[in-house]
Symmetry: C2
Subunit: 374 residues, 2 copies
């Protein structure tokens, strides 16, 4: 199996297909790939202050060795940089330094970096090309695929954004060596989610059978996990690049509950790891699936077991029934149809279904879920 | 001939086609059209302070009569509103008022308004639908077609932008009654430009033969002129929606010189009408075409005659040779290939050609053009 994944939108757009290169040492080909795609481009690397002295410099050196003119722009790490001030400052830098439509942006980092770089690339001169070097597991299995760029507003996360596909993705698993355990877990949770909705049911089974190798950071297993996840997400995105046809929506499995949890913590000026929130969302949605669309209770147990296998625990704080319900209702991914809330559920592993769940049924389930934790 | 023009991008994207309704009284169908396209949308009208009490209110009333929930956002008229502060304020308004991806923005006004509304629509929640009610001739024949949205940066005009197609355009020629003569002339200049590059050579002949009717604001002639222009621009855009394949570039005929003139005036804190600048650009480019690609000198005379017929005069100020040359070189639409400057020229009426012009040839021509005016 090759380590190059073809991603594309051939069915719906022109010439919008690109490669993702995955694996240990993938970065060693990076400059050559960019040379073949954009031989004359001037390059701006976008990264955060934490990544800059590690992978930012490595990527800059590789590109300079290949005779590219390269500059780096970095900002303070963290979600708070996904704001208009940072975007404006990057736009100003690009224009003052004379970047034009033929040039290139390279995002080096996690999801925050690729969100910012994608938004800037889509809007500078009505669109310039960008490539992504994801450096976190979460970004490799999720954020680097799909072409979503966004910034936050005081009124909501990712409220302002665009769709703009990268021209190349280079996921070198060596970058994962410097990640903290909590960051790795964020990636595991999305990996498990994707395995549950994947058309290829064998993904779930493979993940279950290879959990220990992945936990041990075995290169072959890790590379395969990332590739399976990229392929599955890439397939869904290719059918629905603008996330308006319902296909891509199934990627939100577990996320309505997860976003409610994240919003609750945020409202208290606190924070919850995305991976932990998604894991709780998976637990909640799989239990709701039993009643709403007939998921076998045995499958719920298998899902719980897989989450446990990856050491993704449960929230220790008290779950607040009323707050969860209220934040779910305002989550942008749930559309109100009279008294129904839109939810992605599972009929079986690999068989997701977007359902409208009655508010009363949902309240009852939230209540039961919270009680089970008390 | 119907007054509905089908515009689309069927060859390159999914479901991105829309109608433009042109003619006297077109606005009377506006609310019905929106009802059929977006029956449940909440609507934000975007316009400037000058248009708001005239057409802004008319459109709002029509939509409210059709039971839509409608709000209006207006900003100070003029190019200076195409800035990030205005965009940020509209984003904030949209989110505070609870607009979501199913809602609609309606731009009512000229090119500045549609540029702003297009940019906001493309980026709010990664894209919501928008419609345009152009109220100037320039906007009807040019800005409302093509899906370009943009804002200015201190470093340049339209430096930040997007491509985002409207779902409906409604060009009611009655809106033109309130335009000042200079504004009408801006439209004439773009109309003439489009007739010169149009695949359908009869456009130029029709324009020449019907100049007096158009100047007299005859409804039938005016409607036909707008439709011919929309169709021609729509055709070019459909082949090249992202302006990166060279097809759409021919719409820049006359604009490299025009942009240099506009930049010179701007650098002196002064201003030149876009129509006048484009007319001078057409005169310059047609003369350059004689030497570079063999345009018949008789055709240049015909072009001059048509510009005169529409009473589009010449700049009275002294033309500054050196400044024109320098601004042309930095215009983003001219790509430097060694010592060549990229230019759209004419081999004949209806037969444009993108050429690389040697810098020395260009300097000589600028010099001759300026001397002819001294």
């Amino acid at each position: 199996m090759s380590n190059i994944i073809k991603l594309g939108f051939g069915m719906v757009e022109t010439a919008l297909s690109y490669n993702a290169h995955v694996g240990r040492g993938a970065l060693s080909n990076f400059a050559d790939e960019i040379k073949s795609l954009k031989p004359k481009a001037k390059i701006l690397i976008i990264c955060d202050k934490k990544v800059e002295p590690i992978y930012g410099e490595i990527v800059q050196n590789k590109l300079e060795d290949a005779d590219f003119l390269v500059e780096t722009y970095s900002f303070k790490e963290g979600e708070y940089s996904k704001c208009l001030d940072v975007i404006d400052d990057i736009w100003t830098n690009l224009s003052q330094r004379g970047y034009n439509r033929g040039d290139l942006i390279v995002a080096v980092g996690g999801g925050v970096v690729s969100d910012i770089a994608c938004f800037v690339s889509a809007t500078y001169m009505r669109g310039i090309d960008f490539a992504i070097v994801p450096t976190t597991l979460l970004s490799m299995v999720d954020a680097c695929i799909g072409g979503k760029g966004a910034i936050n507003m005081p009124q909501g996360k990712n409220l302002i954004g665009v769709f703009h596909q990268p021209i190349y993705v280079c996921a070198d698993t060596r970058c994962l060596n410097t990640l903290a355990p909590a960051q790795i877990q964020n990636g595991y949770a999305e990996l498990i989610k994707t395995s549950l909705i994947a058309k290829r049911r064998s993904f779930f089974e493979w993940l279950r059978d290879n959990a220990q190798s992945i936990l041990d950071s075995d290169e072959v297993a890790l590379t395969n996990a990332i590739k399976l996840s990229m392929e599955e997400k890439g397939r869904l995105v290719s059918f629905d690049p603008y996330d308006n046809q319902g296909v891509r929506e199934i990627l939100n499995f577990g996320h309505t509950f997860a976003h409610a949890l994240e919003a609750i913590y945020l409202s208290k000026k606190s924070q919850i790891d995305h991976g932990l929130a998604v894991a709780e969302g998976i637990r909640f949605a799989s239990r709701l699936s039993v009643q709403v669309c007939g998921l076998d209770i045995e499958v719920v147990k298998q899902i719980d077991k897989l989450l446990d296998r990856f050491n993704i625990g449960q929230i220790q704080d008290k779950l607040e029934e009323e707050a969860i319900y209220n934040f779910m209702k305002i989550d942008k991914k749930s559309k109100n149809l009279d008294s129904m809330i839109h939810f992605v559920l599972l009929r079986d592993i690999g068989n997701p279904l977007a359902c409208n769940v009655d508010e009363d049924v949902l309240r009852e389930h939230i209540s039961a879920f919270c009680r089970s934790r008390a």
